[in-house]
Symmetry: C2
Subunit: 509 residues, 2 copies
């Protein structure tokens, strides 16, 4: 039995951590409002509000008091005796967050915020002018600052600066490990792409040429979102320029999508993608809200949930068997002439192109691997910032067989680096790999999983994900979670096998 | 010239106060979201987020550090030498807020929060059951706690407990002063109401019997809101159960309204009312955001702005000359048969009834005066809580000539007292009185003000209000502001003269 004082210490720590979490949640409400509802002139005061919330949340969490409470709890065998107990795991994760949040000098944090603001501004300008040289001095500063930041965090022996930065997005992830997973993926994907592009019977593009009223599209995607398990009693769907998901608590999760008359496939894919994120957030443990066991484990695992619903479910033939009647109900004659094969084929069309965010399921990972290799080399000093455009364009030629026409469609297309952020990109492809591996495990464990989709039976998959992944919170590191859930370490095979099988059939290979 | 240290002290104080303001603004975003967008299940976590923001804002503002900075600034003649300077006025108002926020023991604050929660719950239950005795023990506790709270604040010699509470809503306002303003109002209104009810030519009610689609109503009220000067670049209009306005900054002001198919008059009145609040918030000084000179001066003055646009403008014959073509554009044949006289008469119909929030321009103030007299007597101990229903019903018979059928339509209809709030109600009628007096001043100073409305010229009035009232912030106490703007102390004559003239003509007296 812990003594009354020990119990109070634990309760106090939990309270402090949860309060910081409530401030982060409040900031998320303001961010959501900014992206979906805020009037144009509201941007400046909103920045000031968010800055105060961020500072207070940081101060609250990194206070000496939290440090002392944490140390006291760690030395309490009642809490840490069983390393698998909720308390012990919670303390371990709080310790990791506390150390990571307290090791940066505040001067560096301020310098980073200032640089991010300036670099983003200059990046936008350079992109508008299709001129990398305008952004080059800023990116040089970004790389230099990120190296210093990585030094503060430190990395394991045999590791490299990239690892220290990636840890912020994907705990436990190193460049060497990513490389070992990505290398076979790159080879097999290149091979698959060449074969697909050589197909003499590619699918029809008719589905992607439909023009459908956006209000009908909205009713359609709301129907789908509710059907696959996004709970509208505990969430909302709105419109924003870039679709996103944000959760303030498992009881209040907001997702967004976007609509273009000539791209219902984008609205549906974006909605199912964000539903996947949203179902994860809604599936977190409510009794651990604001604590590590009630938080998502990593960006990669989060992305696995969005990709799984978007791709493994939403681009499956069984899904479309179920969805086609709904499509006809919502859009009537406008889709009447399209049959299952045309729609399923159109939803899975593969087209190598320059722009990452518009890429299909097969080429997307090539975009990510290029960025990973380049940012890793930049941080190691193996690539000079001045040489980035040439290196970028060479890799696009090599991996995707396309000639990048200008920097705006090349190395200036993404905002991430200008936000002083490296180590982030690979989480997208890790998400794709995890999703395929999780889905293979789900197929083994849930009888008639895919044939169920044809009858609208999505609940078994959602419950399986709830139990295996969502309710685990941050109990395991992401790579360990994969082993626990699937029985094997992460491998690119699951994704490539899935793509080869599905796309091979669609392309008549 | 202030020394560098003195300058720093002032800057530090301003920063601390503004940060507390940013936390309040953030909380307001969460409140707005809660009333307009939040999914049903979000209510519990939202309460926790708001509680943390409220506590931190309070701690931030009432810290010893703020107290020391404030004292240091007050003793600095460079800041306070000219008592009319922005700095001197700002310090005076911060001092008042600081003392008021620090004089309550935290045990009382906690007790109040707990009682409010319980009392509201029991009030809702009692109202559902139309049974005052269920609420009586809670109201007894409310009165007892409010007396103690008033003791903490204290009141001027010759004053009474009610004054100490009203100070929180209407600085400088006392029960004796309110009584001196309300007494002539009551007498003249009673007389007017008797004459109106005896009219043999009351206006037609046809306008209030229209059934119009709510989406058309929304387009209509948006058109009107923009036309009278609510800036949608710096604000939004949404729907909520109870219309309200909240401003996070002059650049981001949110108003709401509501729609019923059979009550376009309510949607329009609510929208113009909230526009009035919103135009005030949008008109505050941006360079003083989060500081007293960038804040609204009182609830009464705020209400004067909403009532002015709702009534003096929105129920004038000139407004309807301009608005009738718009009404026809938005609703077509559905309103085609109604002429100006019918619509103008219908918008001004007077009907004594039980429910305050549904009351017309003439009877509304009777509801308020009854509440003021009763809560004043409760706090003084002149009226026992047990005797409230009887006292309530007697006053309704005396002032409005109606028999209250049950407590739900009587003394249980308002939520305010169950929120442990007294001293609030009179600000509604003070707002009506201020609006009439301000409007008389505007008519003197702006050539062709009312005839301009017939041509859609609302800008001159908005600019006059911007200059005379909005940009003053909290420079003057509300009663003093009235004298500065209108050249005379507040008097009920302006409102009653206006009502006698307008309604007398409509009712053919």
């Amino acid at each position: 039995m812990p003594t009354a004082t020990e119990q109070t210490t634990w309760t106090d720590l939990v309270e402090r951590v949860q309060e910081a979490g409530l401030l982060h949640a409040s900031a998320s409400v303001l961010h959501w409002d900014q992206e979906t509802k805020m009037p144009p002139e509201g941007i400046e005061p909103r920045g000031a509000q968010l800055a105060v919330l961020a500072r207070l949340a940081h101060e609250q969490f990194t206070s000496d008091e939290v440090g002392e409470l944490l140390a006291a709890c760690e030395s309490n065998a009642d809490l840490t005796g069983d390393p698998e107990s909720d308390e012990a795991v919670t303390l371990k994760r709080i310790r990791r967050d506390y150390d990571r949040n307290t090791c940066l000098p505040s001067s560096l944090v301020a310098e980073e915020a200032k640089l991010a603001s300036q670099a983003q501004h200059n990046w936008a300008e350079a992109r508008r002018n299709q001129d990398f040289t305008q952004f080059q001095p800023w990116l040089e500063q970004v790389v230099e600052l990120l190296r210093r930041k990585a030094e503060c965090f430190g990395w394991a022996e045999g590791g490299e600066p990239w690892d220290a930065l990636a840890e912020g997005y994907e705990p436990g992830c190193t460049a060497a490990w990513v490389d070992s997973v990505f290398s076979p993926l790159r080879d097999r994907l290149q091979n698959l792409l060449q074969r697909l592009m050589g197909s003499e019977t590619p699918p029809s593009n008719a589905f992607n040429e439909l023009v459908l009223p956006t209000d009908q599209q909205e009713a359609f995607v709301r129907d789908i979102a509710a059907s696959i398990g996004f709970d509208f009693q505990r969430g909302r769907l709105d419109v924003s320029t870039h679709p996103f998901c944000t959760g303030f608590h498992p009881r209040d999760v907001r997702i967004t999508t976007r609509f273009h008359e000539d791209n219902v496939n984008d609205a549906l894919g974006s909605t199912m993608h964000e539903c996947g994120h949203g179902i994860y957030e809604q599936g977190l443990r409510q009794d651990q809200a604001g604590l590590p066991l009630g938080e998502a484990v990593s960006l990669g695992i989060h992305e696995s949930q969005s990709r799984l619903w978007e791709n493994q479910v939403g681009r499956s033939v069984q899904f479309w068997e179920w969805c086609l009647p709904k499509l006809r109900t919502h859009f009537g004659d406008a889709v009447g002439s399209l049959n299952l094969e045309t729609i399923y084929g159109g939803a899975n069309i593969v087209r190598p192109d320059f722009i990452r965010v518009e890429a299909d399921e097969a080429t997307y990972n090539m975009h990510i691997m290029i960025r990973f290799e380049l940012e890793r080399a930049l941080l190691l000093g193996d690539l000079a910032v001045a040489d980035l455009p040439q290196a970028w364009n060479e890799k696009y030629k090599e991996y995707l067989g396309i000639d990048v026409p200008n920097d705006a469609k090349g190395c200036l297309q993404d905002i991430h680096w200008s936000m002083v952020s490296m180590g982030y990109f690979p989480t997208y492809t890790l998400g794709n790999l995890y999703s395929a591996q999780f889905f293979d495990a789900a197929k083994r464990e849930i009888p008639d999983l895919e044939s169920g989709f044809a009858k609208g039976a999505f609940e078994p998959l959602k419950e399986w994900l709830n139990e295996k992944i969502h309710r685990q919170g941050r109990r395991y590191l992401p790579a360990d979670l994969c082993e626990v859930v699937t029985g094997a370490p992460l491998s690119a095979d699951h994704l490539v096998n899935y793509l080869e099988e599905k796309l091979g059939a669609i392309y008549g290979l």
